[in-house]
Amino acid sequence: MEINKNKSRPVVVKRVPEQLNRIQARKLLSEVRPFLESDRPQVVFDFSHVRQMDTAGVEMLLYCVSQAMKRDGDVKLASVSPQAAAVLELTRTGRLFEMYENSTDAMRSFSCFLPNTLRFPAPAGSNNGNATEEAA
């Protein structure tokens, strides 16, 4: 776990294990809970290693975000693997989180808006998500 203290409030980056099942989710939650209970918590979950994820993992994420919101904080996701992204889309929870290409961008996003690093699904019918067309 890394803690970035460059800004006034720390951003906690937690790497999520390869399998996010009930046991791992509980373990992860116990590690993160002290930070979530602080004032305006800022937590980033690094999903780069996640290969398997079940409902316990999703519930853990929802619990974390609800706790963070209660204290005016936020939880963001970074380097979301395709497997994790599929589960998040399936459970329709992906929309509740800002997702970034890597944890550095996610950390920086707490202090400034980084539109180019945001993982943003393109709407149906658009050309690669680029709304404006570039003339030849």
């Binding site: 004032d39 975000v65 919101m69 209660k70 204290r71 005016d72 929309r95 509740l96 989180f97 800002e98 996003s109 707490f110 202090s111 400034c112 808006f113 980084l114 539109p115 945001l118 943003f120 699904p121 709407p123 149906a124 019918g125 658009s126 680029n130 709304a131 404006t132 067309e133 570039e134 003339a135 030849a136």
Partner: protein, 392 residues
């Protein structure tokens, strides 16, 4: 050099082209401002201060964004082009040297300085901005060339008296032909892919809010998102994936707005899910299914009044109707059936594996409750005391 501009709102004759619910797309709210205002702002940023807007009287401006610091000429549809000619002549008589005429229409991120310089370098009477598909309805005309201008206006910018100098543009373009293009441009503004910026304060990185926008406790706004002035996001609502909420719009409890635009003065009912859509004026366009639906049920999608006093009256009437109905219901409603006392054993008793855990948990909770408040031990005999705002 005295350069002035005429912006025209003249959608084609076809009822669906460049319009939504009868309104030109150029007048709809894109992250806090209409395209008209965005373009007027860009012109001003290039030092073109004198801007005239020519548009049709039939468009309802009360639902448009109110901040428009431009000279406006509202005319009947049939006089639109002749009004443009009159405005052009006015500009010429009052000392303008060059007039830019732009029909909205397409949003073109052109550098006006470069375009005007091209026009001067070519010593052309009329210059036209083009891309690979043809003209982009932006013309520069020397103010002294009144005949060229008159010919152009009489042919609705489609024919020229003399061949114009063509300035080929290869920058960002959104043709704004339909509501899909409108939504794309909104998304582009929020993702900062264009020069246009949302008209509001950045309350969090990637979340902009206009004056008086209210986010109730428990609502979640995920960046990038825009909340218009005096909009209201009620509890447990979620605004996500480059969604834009127009000014004075209201999103009721538990509703999810995902990759969508909600137009000004709209009311979106409780516990709905709006995804990849544009909603407003009691109409909904789903961009994924490519379908437009008119919604008459005000509980789903309503249109709030543009007048503040009328909105207050409506709220008061709603409240006045709600209270007596609830009182009558509580008096005359049938008594609730008592719950069965003989619950199945499976419900009353925990599985043996969890019994130990449950007892420990129960004891811990009881201890915490007594420690937190000594009066908690007597809570059955006391009135309920509720703490406000002490959760944080």
């Amino acid at each position: 050099m005295d350069v002035r501009a005429i912006l025209m709102i003249a959608p084609p004759e076809a009822p669906t082209e460049e319009r939504f619910a009868g309104m030109p797309l150029a007048l709809l709210d894109i992250a806090g401002k209409s395209l008209l205002e965005h373009v007027a702002g860009r012109l001003r940023s290039f030092g073109i201060e004198e801007i005239a807007v020519v548009c049709d009287r039939s468009f309802d401006y009360s639902t448009c964004s109110p901040q428009q610091a431009v000279r406006r000429h509202v005319v009947e549809q049939e006089n639109l082009w002749s009004t443009c000619e009159t405005v052009f002549n006015d500009f010429a008589q009052t000392g303008a040297e060059m007039v830019l005429v732009q029909r909205l229409g397409a949003y073109v991120e052109v550098n006006y300085d470069h375009f005007l310089q091209f026009h001067l370098d070519r010593q052309a009477h009329v210059s036209l901005l083009c891309d690979g598909e043809g003209g982009l309805d932006l013309v520069a005309i020397c103010a002294s060339r009144r005949n060229n201008a008159a010919y152009l206006f009489r042919h609705q910018l489609s024919q020229f008296r003399q061949p114009p100098a063509q300035y080929f543009f290869n920058g960002a373009i959104n043709r704004m032909r339909d509501i899909r293009d409108f939504r794309k441009l909104t998304q582009d503004v929020l993702l900062q892919r264009t020069e246009l910026r949302p008209a509001g304060e950045e309350i969090r990185p990637g979340v902009w809010a206009g004056n008086g926008a209210r986010i109730e406790r428990g609502a979640r706004v995920v960046a990038p998102a825009f909340l218009g002035a005096h909009s209201r996001i009620r509890a447990a609502a979620v605004i996500t994936r480059a969604s834009s909420i127009g000014h004075h719009a209201e999103i009721d409890c538990g509703t999810i707005v995902e990759a969508s635009s909600v137009l000004p003065y709209s009311y979106l009912g409780a516990a709905l899910e709006l995804a990849n859509s544009v909603a407003g004026f009691s109409r909904l366009v789903n961009l994924e299914r490519n379908v437009e639906v008119e919604i008459a049920d005000r509980k789903l999608l309503g249109l709030r009044s543009a007048s503040a006093s009328r909105r207050a009256l409506e709220s008061a009437a709603l409240f006045a109707r709600f209270v007596p109905v609830e009182m009558i219901r509580s008096i005359f409603a049938p008594r609730r059936q008592p719950l069965p006392t003989d619950e199945p054993a499976g419900i009353r008793t925990l599985p043996s594996t969890l019994q130990g855990v449950a007892e420990v948990e129960e004891r811990r909770k009881e201890r915490e409750r007594v420690q937190a408040s000594p009066s908690a031990a007597f809570e059955n005999q006391l009135i309920v005391v509720r703490r406000y705002g002490g959760d944080q």
